[in-house]
C-alpha cells in the first residue's frame, strides 16, 4: 500500500503550528453580543423570583433571558443518535436548578464587562432545597431531583425519576449464584471510581450569526454538529432547514464536547435579535458546568475452579449521572458490554445495577465511556482471585481470555443502549499482545517486585477491549468529487477534534484513488455541505466513516473508469488506471487532461459520488497494558518507570497518529489512576474547578511510553482497520493497582490511588498484624 500504514504527516498540523485562524472563537464576528450565564450557587433550589429590571436598563445590555422566555420543551443535551438513549430531562432554562453551576438565567450584552456589571445587579430569590450529594443515598430518597411531570425517556431505559433513577439495566447468562456456590475459589470486592474532568485545552466555545439567506449559522467547538443542529431545532422550534452548524478546528474533546453546551442560548439570542452572539466558557465553567466522568461503585464477584478456569462473573454497578441524565444508560452499559466479554469462557455472567441522579455536575461522555471503570474493577478482581489461588496473573488471563475466532454471548445481548449484535472475533490478537508486552517490560525479571532500599520496583498488568462504532446505529457518509486539474475534494461529516480523522480519511481515499494525500482535499463537519455523520464518539471514525470514504472513493473510481471508457470508445474492462493515467489498448489520457476535458470540453459533467456506511458489527480493538513503577516504601510516592502498550487495532491507517492516540489515552488513564479527582465541598460546590487545583499529568510525570501494534487485519474495516481512539485509556488504573499489590501487598480499590491512600492502607494492614 502506498499511503495506508505509512508515516503521513497530518494534513492540518503545520498551518495550526504556524498560528493560522482555525478554532471556533477565531471566527467569531467582531461585534458579537456576549452571552453570560448566571450560574446557581446552590446544589438544589427553586427559583422563586428574578428581578432584573436594573440590569436591563444598563447601557450595552441587549436582553436578560429567564425560564419564562422559553417554551417548555424537554430535550437531552447528549449528542447521540435519534431517538436518544438518554432521558429528555432538560429545559433551556428551568425554574429548578439542580447543581452548583446550573444555568439560572442569561444576560446578553456588548461586552464581558457590561455583562458582569449586569449580573451583579440582578436579584434572584431562591428556595434552597436539600440536595442529594451522596450517590449511595440517591435511590428512593425522599428528595426528588426531577419531580416535574413533563420529562420522559425516548424508549424504555428504566427511567424512574421519582426514585431518582435515570436508567437501569439487567442481564444474566446462566445462574451466577449457583455457579459461584460450586466454585472452588471465589472472591468479592467493591471498587470506587471517581469523577474525572476532561481538561481539553480549548474551553467550550460557540458563536452564531444570521447570513444573508436569513439562516442561523453556528460555529461550535463540538464533536457532534449534526446532533447539535437537530436538538436546537427541536428545543427552540426553529426549522432545521434554517440552521447550519459548522465545526471548525476543535482544541480537544475526549467526549466532553459530545453534547450541547452554550449552543442553545447563543442560537436563541442570534435568532431572536438578528445579531451575532457568542459564548466562551471560562475554565471554571468547563469544570463545573459541562461534564465529568460518571463516578461508579462496582461490586465484583468472581468464581473459578481449581484448574484455574474462570466460571462466573457477577458485576453490580451504581453509577452517578449527576443532575441530568446525559449518557446515563449507555456509559453504564459499556462498563459491562466492553469489559465482560474479555473472559468469554465463563458459565454464567450477571450485569445489573442502576444509574442515579444526584445534585452534582452532570456526568457525560468521556473517553473509555464506562469501559475504564468496568476494567478497573474486573482486572483488579482478576488479580485478587489469582492471589487467592496462588496462580500467576498472566497465566490465568492467557487461559481464560477471549481469543481469535471466538465469541461471547454478551455481544448479542448488550449493545449501547439497546440490544447488541452477535459477532465472531475475526481479529483478536490478545495472546500476542500479552506475550509481547510481557517481554517488553521484562516482566519475568521484576515480577512481583524488587526491593531497592527506600523504594520497591514492581510490575502490574491488565487487558482491555473497546468497540469500533455502534453497530446498526452509527452512520457515516462521504462525498468525493473530481475537480479540473485532476485533484479531489472529499467531504465528510466525520468530526476532526485532533484525533487525526481528517488525515486518516484522506489517506483512505488517496489509497483507493491511487494518489497521494496532497491530491485529496478534505472538508469536514458542515451540516450544509458535508453528508451526515454521527460525529466523533464511540471510536467510530476510522471504522464507520472510513468505510464510507472507502466506498465513495471506489464508486468514484468506477465512474471515472466508465467515463474514460466512453472517451476511449472501448469497454470499461479494457481501461486501466494507475492513479495518474488512464490507458486502453494504445491510448492514454492523464487524469489531469481527463478532468479538464470532462469539465470544459465534451459531455461535460461533474463526477461525484456519495456513499454511506452503517456497521453490522463493531469489531473490538484489544490491548494489553503493563506498568513498571517504583514506589517509596515510606511515603507511597510513585514514579512510573515505563508503560508498555501492545495494541491490536487492525491495520494502523496512520501508525504515528495511532501511536499518538494510545500514548495520549494512556496518560489520561494514568491521571485517573493516580491523582485526578473532581472534588466537592460538603455543600456540593466543586472546589477543584480550576487548573491550579485540578492537576493533569505533566511532562515530568511521564518517563517512558512503549507502544507497539501487532499485525492484524480486520476484513470488515477499511484496509483492515478497527479503531484506536479510546482503548488506550482503559488499562492504567487496574495495571497500577495490580503493581501496587505486587509491591506492597495492599489492594487499592478506590480511585485515584494517591500516595496518602497507599500509606493509610499499609498502616492499617500493619496494625492488623
Amino acid at each position: 500500500m502506498k499511503v495506508i500504514n505509512h508515516k503521513v504527516p497530518s494534513v492540518d498540523g503545520l498551518g495550526i503550528m504556524k498560528g493560522r485562524k482555525a478554532y471556533t472563537d477565531d471566527f467569531a464576528e467582531r461585534d458579537s453580543l456576549i452571552v453570560k450565564v448566571l450560574r446557581s450557587p446552590h446544589a438544589f433550589a427553586k427559583i422563586l423570583s428574578i428581578n432584573a429590571e436594573e440590569a436591563k436598563k444598563l447601557e450595552g445590555i441587549e436582553m436578560v433571558l429567564t425560564h419564562k422566555d422559553f417554551k417548555r420543551i424537554p430535550f437531552t443535551r447528549a449528542g447521540q443518535g435519534y431517538p436518544e438513549p438518554s432521558p429528555h430531562d432538560k429545559f433551556v432554562l428551568d425554574e429548578y436548578v439542580r447543581y452548583v453551576g446550573d444555568e439560572v438565567l442569561a444576560v446578553v450584552g456588548q461586552s464581558d464587562a457590561v455583562c458582569e456589571k449586569a449580573l451583579n445587579l440582578i436579584d434572584v430569590e431562591y428556595e434552597v432545597l436539600e440536595p442529594i450529594l451522596d450517590f449511595q443515598q440517591a435511590m428512593d430518597n425522599d428528595i426528588i431531583i426531577h419531580p416535574e411531570d413533563d420529562i420522559h425517556e425516548m424508549f424504555n431505559i428504566g427511567f424512574k425519576p421519582k426514585q431518582n433513577i435515570a436508567a437501569s439495566y439487567h442481564m444474566h447468562i446462566g445462574d451466577v449464584e449457583k455457579t459461584l456456590n460450586e466454585c472452588d475459589y471465589s472472591i468479592e470486592e467493591t471498587f470506587y471510581t471517581q469523577a474525572q474532568a476532561h481538561v481539553m485545552l480549548e474551553p467550550h466555545t460557540v458563536n452564531a450569526r444570521m447570513d444573508f439567506q436569513e439562516r442561523l449559522v453556528i460555529y461550535s467547538a463540538t464533536q457532534t454538529p449534526f446532533h447539535v443542529r437537530r436538538i436546537i431545532s427541536q428545543a427552540l422550534e426553529i426549522p432545521m432547514s434554517k440552521l447550519r452548524v459548522i465545526k471548525p478546528r476543535v482544541g480537544g474533546g475526549f467526549g466532553g464536547k459530545q453534547a450541547i453546551h452554550g449552543e442553545m442560548l447563543v442560537a436563541y439570542v442570534t435568532y431572536k435579535t438578528g445579531k451575532p452572539a457568542k459564548m466562551i466558557y471560562t475554565r471554571k465553567e468547563v469544570f463545573e458546568s459541562s461534564y465529568s466522568r460518571h463516578p461508579m461503585k462496582l461490586t465484583m464477584r468472581l468464581g473459578a475452579d481449581k484448574d484455574g478456569l474462570l466460571k462466573a462473573i457477577d458485576c453490580h454497578v451504581l453509577s452517578d449521572t449527576g443532575a441530568y441524565g446525559e449518557h446515563a444508560l449507555t456509559v453504564y452499559m459499556v462498563a459491562g458490554s466492553k469489559v465482560l466479554p474479555l473472559y468469554n469462557k465463563v458459565d454464567s455472567v450477571r450485569f445489573h445495577g442502576h444509574v442515579v441522579y444526584t445534585n452534582h455536575t452532570p456526568a457525560g461522555a468521556f473517553r473509555g465511556y464506562g469501559a475504564i471503570q468496568g476494567n478497573f474493577a474486573l482486572e483488579s478482581a482478576i488479580d485478587i482471585l489469582c492471589h487467592k489461588m496462588d496462580m500467576d496473573p498472566i497465566e490465568f488471563r492467557q487461559k481464560n481470555m477471549i481469543k481469535e475466532n471466538e465469541t461471547s454471548p454478551i455481544f448479542k445481548i448488550m449493545g449501547e443502549g439497546t440490544e447488541g449484535t452477535a459477532m465472531m472475533m475475526e481479529t483478536c490478537k490478545l495472546e500476542e499482545c500479552v506475550s509481547r508486552g510481557k517481554d517488553l517490560i521484562h516482566w519475568d525479571d521484576i515480577y512481583p517486585a524488587k526491593d531497592k532500599g527506600d523504594k520497591i520496583r514492581s510490575v502490574g498488568m491488565a487487558i482491555a477491549m473497546q468497540g469500533s462504532g455502534i453497530p446498526l446505529i452509527d452512520m457515516g457518509s462521504a462525498t468525493i468529487k473530481l475537480n479540473d486539474d485532476g485533484f479531489y475534494n472529499l467531504m465528510v461529516g466525520a468530526t476532526e477534534i485532533g484525533q487525526g480523522s481528517d488525515t486518516v480519511l484522506t489517506q483512505i481515499a488517496a489509497e483507493v484513488l491511487m494518489t497521494d494525500v496532497d491530491h485529496v482535499i478534505i472538508y469536514s463537519s458542515d451540516t450544509d455541505l458535508t453528508p451526515f455523520d454521527v460525529g466523533a464518539y464511540a471510536s467510530s471514525t476510522t471504522f464507520v466513516s472510513g468505510n464510507a470514504v472507502y466506498k465513495a472513493a471506489h464508486a468514484l473510481k468506477t465512474t471515472m473508469l466508465q467515463e474514460a471508457a466512453r472517451i476511449f470508445d472501448v469497454k470499461v474492462e479494457e481501461v486501466s488506471f494507475d492513479g495518474k493515467t488512464f490507458t486502453a489498448k494504445a491510448k492514454s489520457l492523464s487524469l489531469k487532461d481527463f478532468s479538464n476535458e470532462i469539465t470544459y470540453s465534451e459531455s461535460q459533467k461533474q463526477l461525484q459520488e456519495t456513499s454511506s456506511y452503517v456497521g453490522p458489527k463493531s469489531p473490538p480493538p484489544f490491548m494489553a497494558g503493563f506498568i513498571e513503577i517504583e514506589i517509596d516504601k515510606e511515603t507511597g510516592e510513585i514514579d512510573i518507570c515505563d508503560y508498555v502498550s501492545v495494541v491490536d487495532c487492525g491495520t494502523t491507517i496512520n501508525p504515528m497518529l495511532a501511536k499518538g492516540q494510545v500514548d495520549g489515552a494512556i496518560v489520561q488513564g494514568l491521571g485517573m489512576a493516580m491523582f485526578e479527582d473532581v472534588k466537592y465541598s460538603k455543600n456540593g460546590r466543586m472546589i477543584s474547578s480550576d487548573l491550579l487545583n485540578y492537576k493533569i499529568p505533566t511532562r515530568l510525570d511521564i518517563n517512558k511510553l512503549t507502544t507497539e501494534f501487532v499485525d492484524s487485519y480486520e476484513e470488515s474495516g477499511p484496509f483492515g482497520a478497527k479503531s484506536v481512539g479510546e482503548i488506550g485509556i482503559d488499562t492504567p488504573p487496574a495495571a497500577l493497582a495490580n503493581a501496587i499489590e505486587n509491591a506492597l501487598g495492599v489492594r487499592m480499590t478506590e480511585l485515584p490511588i494517591t500516595p496518602e491512600k497507599i500509606i493509610k492502607k499499609l498502616k492499617e494492614k500493619n496494625n492488623e498484624k
Binding site: 497530518s10 481538561v199 485545552l201 480537544g252 487525526g500 504515528m656 499518538g660
Partner: protein
C-alpha cells in the same frame, strides 16, 4: 490610555484600559494565534515572548509590555514551520491548541540552550500542558528541531 507596542518588529498603537491584559488586547487586534486555555495562568496556552523570554500573556498587563519586544508565532514563521514539520513527522500534532505557544517556547529554549537534553526540554516546557499527546512524540520532535540548530 494610548500605548505603543512593538509586536513582531512592528510598532502598533493601541487604546487600552490600565487593567487590560496583553492576551485580550492582541486577540482583539487580530493576533488569533494567541489563545486562552484557563482562568489563572496555569496552562501555558497563551504564552508570548517578551524580549525572547516566554511569559503568560493572560497575566501580563498590556501597558507593562511597552518598551519590550513582543513576539507571537506570526513573528517566527520559519521556526514554526520547521518545528511543525518535525511534529508532523513524529505524529506529535493532535488538536494543536497548545502548538503555537509551544513553538514560541521551544524557540526561546533554542536561543537559551540549543544543546538541551530531554530532561532539560521537559523542565523548560513543563508549564505548557498538553492533554492530547501524552508528550512523548512532542519531545522526539523537539529534540530533532533543536538538533538542527547545534
Amino acid at each position: 490610555m494610548k500605548i505603543k507596542l512593538n509586536i513582531n518588529q512592528q510598532i502598533k498603537n493601541f487604546e487600552i484600559e490600565p487593567g487590560d491584559f496583553l492576551l485580550d488586547v492582541l486577540r482583539d487586534a487580530g493576533y488569533m494565534s494567541l489563545r486562552r486555555g484557563c482562568d489563572n495562568t496555569s496552562c501555558g496556552v497563551c504564552t508570548v515572548l517578551l524580549d525572547n523570554r516566554p511569559v503568560p500573556s493572560c497575566s501580563l498587563l498590556a501597558l507593562k509590555a511597552q518598551n519590550h519586544q513582543i513576539t507571537t508565532v506570526e513573528g517566527i514563521q520559519e521556526e514554526a514551520d520547521k518545528l511543525g514539520r518535525y511534529f508532523g513527522d513524529e505524529g506529535a500534532d493532535q488538536c494543536g491548541y497548545c502548538n503555537p505557544s509551544m513553538a514560541l517556547c521551544v524557540y526561546a529554549l533554542k536561543l537559551e540552550n540549543k544543546d538541551a537534553k530531554e530532561e532539560d526540554i521537559k523542565k523548560y516546557l513543563v508549564g505548557n500542558l498538553c492533554r492530547c499527546t501524552g508528550y512523548v512524540a512532542q519531545h522526539k520532535a523537539i529534540k530533532r528541531y533543536l538538533g538542527d540548530a547545534s
